[in-house]
């Protein structure tokens, strides 16, 4: 007698699964994290109340959430776009940092009125981000070298560069601290008058819409999607793998660059050695949650923003280390990838007398 686990590949995913997955994974993550909270003597429901409900119902909470969401949206797009071509931009964090460095350098050294300086900072930050991913992109497109490892290595190089820059070329003249000078007002992202929301949100939403439009309405979007779905068939169709991989990755790099400069310009105000936001890594679960569309990426980014702000709240009010949000983040990814498995396979359990493997083999070819 043997317990047989039978896996049959699914030909299509039931609708409830396709739409319900993000919801289920988040719920599952919340439940498991609840245990962690409980173990510290905290009532999970009370904690979640502060984390989610309060954050979303106070104007303070909402504003902070939006501020947090801006770089997350950019970073999410930075991973989402290459993912459409089945490429993993794990190094978004590095491109983010480089974008921050270059954008800040421009903001500190160029004198222009705000309506010219800010765009210039963003453009240079974006280009810097794209340049930072260019080498890994080239290596992947031309030689097939795994972009996961190469982009990751570039993250660490970027972090060291940041350290160097704030202690050297960009270090504030009067100060002994490892940080740059403060960005002038002309280089700072303002808040939207009256409502008080960060203006970066507007740019982020615009970029989401632009990404959506590119993927769904343009030739390039079609090629990227097709290449990601089946690169063999795409090449048979005459599409250039080299061109598409380079474009997809470098566009992602630019987005990450935007994330970096928007954070410095809109929140930090200056470049510090301690600038280690981690948005580039959080971008991975954001992109996975929002896999099916740019607007879902937006929603996922907002969710994580709430998560992080809520995390700080419960740290202040309940003394719970905000690292619980990292745990939740990890759990969301964990349940997402497990769910991925169940989406692709139907699992059947049965008791078997004799384990006779049957052959769902492919009769085409040499029979």
């Amino acid at each position: 007698m043997k317990l047989n686990v039978e896996l049959t590949p699914r030909s299509n995913i039931p609708t409830w699964m396709a739409y319900g997955t993000p919801v289920f994974t988040i719920l599952a993550a919340l439940i498991v994290s609840g245990f962690a909270l409980f173990s510290l003597g905290v009532n999970p429901l009370a904690a979640y109340n502060i984390m989610f409900v309060q954050t979303l119902t106070t104007s303070f909470g909402i504003t902070n959430t939006l501020v947090k969401a801006v770089p997350l949206i950019f970073a999410g797009l930075a991973v989402y776009l290459p993912l459409k071509a089945r490429l993993w931009n794990i190094g978004a964090e590095g491109q983010l940092i480089i974008g921050a460095i270059v954008g800040t350098a421009v903001g500190l050294s160029v004198s222009l009125p705000i309506y010219a300086l800010l765009p210039l900072m963003f453009v240079t930050g974006g280009i810097a981000g794209a340049m930072w991913i260019a080498v890994p992109a080239w290596l992947r497109a031309r030689y097939g070298i795994n972009e996961i490892i190469t982009t990751l290595l570039f993250v660490f190089i970027a972090q060291s560069l940041l350290n160097y820059v704030v202690r050297g070329p960009l270090q504030a003249a009067e100060s002994n601290f490892p940080q740059s000078a403060s960005l002038p007002t002309a280089a700072t992202l303002p808040s939207i008058p009256i409502i008080g929301f960060p203006s970066g949100v507007l740019l982020a939403i615009v970029l989401v819409a632009v990404t959506y439009a590119i993927i769904n309405y343009t030739r390039l979007g079609y090629e990227i999607t097709f290449m990601g779905a089946n690169d063999n068939a795409a090449e048979h169709a005459g599409m250039s793998k080299l061109k598409i991989y380079l474009i997809a990755l470098m566009a992602g790099g630019a987005m990450a660059g935007f994330a970096g400069i928007s954070e410095i310009s809109g929140v930090e105000g200056r470049l510090r050695a301690s600038f280690d936001p981690g948005y580039g890594f959080t971008a991975v679960p954001i992109a996975l949650l929002g896999r099916n569309g740019a607007f879902r990426v937006l929603l996922a980014a907002l969710f994580f923003a709430v998560l992080f702000i809520g995390g700080s709240s419960i740290e202040t009010s309940l003394g719970v280390p905000s690292a619980i949000t990292n745990v939740m983040e990890a759990l969301i990814i964990l349940f997402l990838i497990t769910a991925e498995f169940f989406k692709n396979y139907r699992v059947g359990l049965s008791l078997d007398q004799t384990p006779t493997p049957s052959a769902p083999g492919d009769p085409e070819g040499d029979v």
Binding site: A229, A237, P360, G361, D366, V367
Partner: protein, 551 residues
């Protein structure tokens, strides 16, 4: 009665979804003989041997080896029973040495712990023969020295000329095959199965192989060799079993058959379909190929100097057994495979070694052999797949933007005209959800409605239901009428005879024969496809039942 039934496969039946691969096949092999297994592609040879080797399990039927009934669930069971197989695609790990590849999985401990039950006695022996100690030793030591010497000895005995200490990546193809044979010999097999062994060998290497096989059988080994090459059957086998369409046609003494006889046994099939073909006047040359040479994915030359031309309004059929270069030829004619030498001209333009895009823009359409891997993106919608080669056309794209309404309409047109069934909405259903026949019709629709100058169709009706087959064939003929030049690659000779205006035969990368359906001799083509030469017919002793009775 039992001396010639060392290996017996009785009434083996194996079905896959949609196809009966083996239909009550029986076959018996004498001890010490070299037994050939002959048949066209799709006849069921490979399936039958995979069952014998434990990779598949038969739905019905029994296997007997030396009068023992075998129950095999895995290749390991087959090895334990004394059956070894040399696959067409070698199962070797290049980084490891020959000897390591051969001992892999046997878990032999170092000599000190080897369970040599001899006259050993005493504390040391009882210590080392203890089960737990044996278990640990087999895992945590590596018994290489003794086996390596044994393997080298074995190799030298058979004249293999291999240094078993070198890593496999240093060896050439012929040597690697010998390593595969050594693998089986080292495991002391009684029966050795070889699957298309000369597919990757030069004639000289093939000769060496045959000598080796004869030496092995002289020493008592039994060999089954799967092949489609008639000259090999004639050269090296004692008897041969012929399969056709999943059934066994009979087993005959090789010496008593001519290649013609064997070809006839392989082929004799009724013509199932009759397609009306009008006379079409042939026009300009759409394809001109001269001295084309390409390599296959493994770097071995697959197309060795092909000349051919196709004109507008004709269907040129290419007959050949899979693995003789036709796939590589097709791929180079559509720009997906680089060429080593020679030239390709499409409607007069030289497109040799240009990108696939250039070929597409020059009016070349392609229906690939592997529709899921090369022909469509299964996770994308019908609509996406319908415009796969036309999305850049002004009809569908305006600058950067895509006109999805136009694309949807186009997809609907394709679906309707080519009777792709079961689609309510071209945007919602994914290509991967379609059945084989429907997907193929969609691909054909996409490739044909572009109004190409040249259409290359590689096995367009393979794995497709009967209704779709008929439809596809009619469409090919219709395309011909509208002026496209068609290159039809097919393993189905009936199909080629039905549809083609001219039939070329490819063997080992060269075009060996050209004829028309009216003049062609079905058996002659089969002969050429399998490398046989036309022989003078002699009166032969073939029983009316094809040689089945008599053992």
């Amino acid at each position: 009665m039992s001396d010639d039934k060392f290996v017996r496969m009785e009434n083996i039946t194996k079905t896959f979804p949609g196809v009966v691969a083996n239909d009550s096949v029986s076959m018996s092999v004498k001890k010490g003989e070299i037994h050939g297994l002959l048949g066209e592609n799709g006849a069921g040879k490979s399936t039958l041997m995979k069952i014998l080797y434990g990779l598949y399990s038969a739905d019905e039927g029994d296997i007997w080896l030396d009068n023992n009934r075998l129950e095999m669930d895995s290749p390991q069971d087959a090895i334990d029973a004394g059956i070894g197989m040399v696959h067409q695609h070698f199962k070797l790990i290049p980084r490891l040495s020959v000897s390591k590849n051969i001992i892999l999985g046997k878990r032999e401990p170092i000599a000190a712990f080897k369970d040599n039950s001899g006259s050993e006695s005493g504390v040391l022996h009882s210590l080392t023969s203890n089960n737990i100690v044996q278990g640990l030793a087999s895992r945590f030591t590596l018994g290489l020295d003794t086996p390596e010497k044994q393997i080298q000895q074995l190799s030298d005995n058979y004249g293999f000329n291999i240094d078993v200490t070198v890593p496999v990546w240093e060896l050439g193809v012929g040597e690697r095959q010998r390593v595969e044979i050594l693998k089986a010999l080292y495991r002391d097999v009684d029966l050795l199965i070889l699957d298309e062994p000369t597919a990757v060998l030069t004639p000289t290497q093939a000769e060496r192989l045959f000598e080796t096989l004869k030496t092995l059988t002289d020493e008592g080994l039994t060999v089954i060799i799967i092949t489609h090459k008639l000259d090999e059957i004639k050269e090296v086998t004692d008897r041969v079993t012929v399969l056709r369409d999943g059934r066994d046609i009979g087993t005959v003494e090789t010496s008593e058959q001519t290649s013609d006889d064997l070809a006839r046994m392989m082929v004799g099939r009724e013509v199932l379909f009759n397609v009306d073909k009008d006379d079409v006047s042939v026009g300009e040359t759409v394809l001109n190929v001269s001295s084309l040479r390409t390599t296959n994915d493994r770097g071995i030359e697959a197309v060795s100097g092909v000349d051919m031309s196709i004109r507008s309004g004709e269907i040129v059929g290419l007959a050949g057994v899979s693995g003789n270069g036709q796939k590589e030829l097709a791929e180079s004619l559509v720009g997906v495979r680089e060429t080593l030498g020679g030239s390709i001209e499409i409607t007069g333009d030289d497109v040799t070694n240009e990108s696939p895009n250039a070929f597409i823009n020059n009016g070349v359409s392609f229906v690939p052999e592997d529709r899921h891997r090369d022909g469509c993106a299964g996770t994308l919608s019908i609509m996406h797949n319908a415009v796969m080669k036309r999305y850049a056309d002004s009809e569908f794209s305006d600058g950067f933007k895509l006109n999805y309404e136009a694309m949807e309409e186009y997809a609907d047109t394709l679906v309707e005209e080519f009777d792709v069934r079961g689609i309510k909405n071209v945007r919602e259903i994914n290509a991967g959800e379609l059945s084989g026949g429907n997907l193929q019709k969609l691909i054909l629709a996409r490739e044909m409605l572009r109004e190409p100058d040249l259409l290359v169709a590689n096995q367009p009706t393979r794995g497709v239901d009967v209704g779709a087959i008929e439809f596809i064939r009619e469409r090919l003929v219709a395309q011909r009428k509208s002026g496209t030049g068609v290159l039809l690659l097919s393993e189905d000779l009936d199909e080629l005879f039905d549809l083609s205006d001219r039939i070329l035969t490819i063997y080992q990368g060269e075009i060996v024969h050209e004829t028309t359906p009216e003049e062609a001799d079905r058996q002659r083509i089969s002969l050429e496809m399998n490398g046989g030469k036309e022989e003078v017919k002699q009166p032969t002793q073939i029983a009316a039942d094809g040689g089945r009775s008599g053992f």
